[in-house]
């Protein structure tokens, strides 16, 4: 899961784009969004807060997770299809995204407009989106409208027809958005950073692809991508909310019984180049701030060091105002509104990155401070207090990671995707609590790389006068 959006979550009711951003100002919005991203991979319930989950595997291979909860008349559905960026060839980058985008643009039974009209009319939402490792279809619907919701859900999943005029329209829109994002410095920094860190690997490309690669995608590519991967034996269905097992069974029988098992093609991905030298990329733009990213290749989700890395990252820059980077770069030096670090642990190695924005003139000082903090956590053990604070946050905050039906549905699906197991819930606190200061030092040394980091600076380069 990559973060490419600008760090400004809408807060107000009915938040729309640029306008709402201006209505309210969080003190540190990014902290929340970074933790949310983290949450998907790491906060799990303990026995104190066990979810009642029913897991079944259907004859067609579909894994179904169900958490029944009748406190509100709503139903949240998350379907993960194990196909994303990682399954697309480089010359057709953007294929997974375009496939997902077109699911709601025409089926055997409905035109684009009919789909949005029926969904909007019942005040529900039905979205399909691709990611690095998988594609997600989510439905949020009132209980009273569950039949209509399930019908539409199954229609876009099973019967999309990828009409040529809709493909052309969507391609133009994506190309337009790609162009518009050229004015967003954080996007430019992110794109350059990923490209350098991952090289030819699919993780190194942005989800939408490029204007050129989108042009290479034909209708038959979309049809084939859908036919190859959108299979029950390649998917996880997670349902949370006001629905009994019997009701769920009936819905599945009615709307998903035609979904047939088939063989899943093996995927092709570029090789990761692990032996990269240190590199600095400077992008010149007429800005008041330097947008800075520093980092390197990180870890995969199944790396046993995942928990030690979680603790280390919390102390370094993942823990909001409790983190060292926030304390030094923001609190003490007043250099940035936002400074953070995070690991994106995917199916394969993801990234580790530190990000901040500071006025052009302070870029050198800020980078020096970041490098100093990286050096410190690699050379000296963290204190016992820091360790215990990180552990109490990581273990103590998970009930809040599962406090809505939407969060539960998404969480169960990703736990299944990353093979964490149903008992993982009870094991998680032990994994975290067993991390020592020695482990933190070891993983900092191993995964933070002062010799091989990639540094990207998008700034008014004349004013920034970078020494790096």
């Amino acid at each position: 899961m990559k973060k490419t959006n600008p760090p400004l979550p809408p807060l107000a009711k009915g938040g729309h784009g640029g306008i709402t951003q201006s209505f309210s100002l969080n003190r540190y919005p990014l902290f929340i969004s970074v933790l949310m991203l983290f949450a998907v991979f790491c906060f799990l319930p303990t026995n104190v807060f066990a979810l009642n989950v029913n897991r079944t595997i259907l004859p067609n291979g579909l894994v179904v997770l169900h958490s029944e909860n009748h406190s509100l008349p709503i139903v949240m559905v998350t379907l993960i299809i194990k196909a994303g960026q990682i399954n697309e060839p480089a010359e057709k980058a953007g294929l997974a995204n375009l496939t997902a985008e077109l699911l709601t643009e025409g089926t055997r039974n409905r035109k684009s407009r009919d789909i949005s009209e029926e969904i909007d009319f019942i005040g529900a939402s039905l979205d399909a989106s691709a990611g690095s490792d998988y594609t997600t279809i989510s439905l949020s619907v009132l209980k009273k409208d569950i039949q209509k919701g399930a019908e539409l859900f199954s229609d876009i999943l099973l019967n999309p027809i990828f009409p040529q005029d809709e493909i052309d329209r969507k391609k133009e829109l994506i190309k337009g958005f790609l162009r518009q994002r050229e004015e967003d410095p954080s996007f430019l920094a992110e794109r350059a950073f990923k490209k350098e860190v991952f090289g030819e690997h699919s993780y190194g490309r942005i989800l939408e692809g490029s204007a050129e690669s989108i042009q290479n995608i034909k209708r038959e590519d979309l049809v084939k991508f859908h036919a190859d991967y959108f299979l029950p034996n390649n998917s996880i269905l997670s349902v949370a909310g006001d629905l009994t097992h019997a009701e769920l069974d009936a819905l599945m029988g009615k709307y998903l019984s035609g979904w047939k098992k088939a063989e899943i093609p093996s995927r092709v991905t570029g090789e990761l180049n692990r032996a990269k030298p240190k590199k600095t990329i400077k992008i010149d733009k007429d800005l008041t701030q330097a947008n800075i990213i520093l980092g390197n290749l990180g870890i995969s989700r199944d790396n046993p060091d995942y928990y030690a890395v979680s603790v280390m990252n919390y102390i370094l820059g993942g823990g909001g105002f409790s983190s060292r980077l926030m304390h030094s770069v923001r609190d003490e030096l007043g250099l940035a509104y936002d400074v953070h670090s995070f690991f994106a642990a995917n199916k394969e190695e993801g990234i580790f990155q530190i990000g901040l924005q500071t006025k052009n003139e302070s870029a050198n000082v800020a980078i020096a401070e970041v490098l100093k903090q990286v050096e410190r956590i690699r050379k000296e053990k963290v204190t016992d207090d820091e360790l215990s604070e990180a552990k109490s946050y990581l273990t103590g905050s998970f009930p809040r990671r599962l406090d809505t039906n939407r969060k539960i549905a998404d969480f169960l699906a990703s736990v299944e995707f990353y093979n964490l197991g149903l008992d993982y819930a009870t094991k998680y606190p032990d994994y975290i609590n067993s991390v020592t200061t020695g482990d933190v030092l070891r993983v900092a040394e191993k995964y933070l790389s002062p010799e091989k980091y990639v540094l990207v600076v998008v700034a008014n380069q004349k004013k920034a006068e970078l020494k790096y």
Binding site: G18, S22, L25, I119, E172, R179, D284, K285, G334, Y337
Partner: protein, 440 residues
């Protein structure tokens, strides 16, 4: 007894086919502090929020950004807990804290497992009165806020246009200035400005506490009474009152700067909730921009392909009349004049012919559904109570739902005619100046 409990009942939102209930209790301390407890036991979590009735509207001339900078300073430590200790204490207990400032109010909140919520009472009571506000910290935090301004506005072309349009739409009312404040004003804010502002507005009689989640209001109020009950009332607060004179002609703002695509933002003066027109404005907003099936997307993006995105935005939840926005980004190769003409064409349609019954029903369904879905999150739920309380009384939630339900097709035509008039609008256009070169 430091407090009296004067209200407790089940709130029922009567929606078609669905009844949702939460138990709401209301208390008031002798020093004027009001407490609203929303008991909701579906998950072992709780949120504590303290709402101060102060926002950018209350700032003196030349000191825009004061409320928001003060919000930042509220995290910098008290005599009891020392510098920057607050968030650390919260996180150590598995919690998260944050705050935000709006035109009308400022909110601080924590989210905890419900067994830790009592910590909030201590932390918030302490910082209502005992901020240190070290001058060195003020200087440092001021530069942090300037970085925030650079991040959100200076380097973001569309947000810059938003600031320009707002400033042009209001000549008199303080809504003219954004919450972030102008850079030159920020530079002039000193420690004493902040401290006086803090001592004026941060008092029990100018605040409301909203607690929601797995809590027992009658238990919690005892702690709140103990820790907040002895805090003295603040000075009497002179409420800022200002009215924007009627606009007599279109205003146009042009912003030329480095950007990729032209962008248009149009703002019309409109009333706020609970004005009788506010309900129809809400419904109208959704008829125009409540999803991909609605008018602006269908016309500008899907059919005509003149825009990459087109939307509208109205929130009636402000203390004084604010703005109804239309905005759109031109598709590559398309003129912003075409985009503007297409927006006016949609407005004309609404003025000439009533929307269909189905469109009205769709908008109402969306509002009701978002109310119910919002209850899934105790945070969202608490925000809703707090926001209505800031507008007068949380019971206005019922008034709002009722008002929405009564909106007719004719109401929508009428308000479209009444407010979307050329002389009532401010039009802002972003014109990209030079091509961005992002090659490495």
């Amino acid at each position: 007894m430091k407090y009296i409990k004067f209200f407790s009942f089940f709130l029922f939102l009567f929606l078609p086919n669905i009844v949702c209930s939460s138990e709401v209790k209301e208390y008031k301390l002798n020093n004027g502090l009001k407490v609203i407890a929303v008991e909701e036991h579906k998950s072992p979590v709780a949120t504590f929020q303290i709402w101060y009735r102060v926002g950018s509207r209350d700032e003196p001339a030349g000191k825009s950004g004061l409320s928001h900078l003060l919000e930042h300073m509220m995290f910098k430590g008290t005599s009891k807990y020392g510098t920057s200790a607050l968030s650390r204490i919260v996180q150590k207990n598995g919690g998260t804290d944050n705050a935000y400032t709006t035109k009308d109010y400022t909110v601080y909140f924590e989210l905890f497992s419900s067994d830790r919520i009592i910590l909030s009472v201590d932390l918030e009571a302490d910082r209502m009165q005992n901020l240190i506000m070290d001058p060195k910290e003020v200087l440092s935090e001021r530069s942090v806020v300037m970085e925030e301004r650079r991040l959100r506005y200076e380097d973001d072309p569309q947000n810059s246009l938003f600031e320009e349009v707002t400033a042009a739409a209001f000549k008199v009312h303080p809504y003219q200035r954004l919450v972030i404040g102008w850079m030159s004003d920020l530079k002039s804010i000193e420690r004493d400005d902040l401290y006086d502002y803090y001592k004026t507005y941060y008092s029990p009689n100018n605040a409301v506490i909203v607690v929601a989640g797995d809590v027992n209001g009658d238990e919690l109020i005892k702690n709140i009474g103990t820790l907040f009950g002895d805090l003295p009332c603040g000075p009497p607060i002179k409420k800022m009152s200002s009215a924007e004179p009627e606009q007599k002609g279109e205003r146009r703002v042009i912003l030329k700067r480095e950007a990729e695509l032209p962008y248009i933002l149009i703002a019309y003066h409109v009333p706020s909730f609970p004005h009788e027109d506010s309900y129809a404005l809400d419904v109208l907003n959704l008829i125009l921009a409540g999803g991909k099936s609605t008018r602006l997307y269908q016309s500008l993006v899907y059919e005509k392909k003149v825009a990459l995105g087109a939307s509208a935005d109205y929130s009636g939840f402000s203390r004084d009349p604010y703005l109804f926005f239309f905005y759109a980004t031109a598709a590559p190769g398309r003129d912003i004049e075409d985009v503007e003409a297409s927006l006016y064409a949609e407005i004309k349609n609404l003025q000439n012919e009533p929307p269909s019954e189905r469109e009205i029903q769709k908008a109402k369904n969306q509002i009701e559904s978002s109310f119910i879905m919002g209850q899934d999150s105790i945070y969202v739920q608490a925000m809703k109570y707090g926001m209505f309380e800031m507008l007068g009384d949380w019971r206005l939630i019922d008034t709002y739902i009722e008002g929405i339900r009564k909106v007719t097709r004719e109401d929508v035509v009428e308000i479209a005619k009444k407010y979307f008039k050329e002389e009532n609008g401010t039009v802002g256009i972003l014109i990209p100046t030079k091509k961005v070169d992002s090659n490495q």
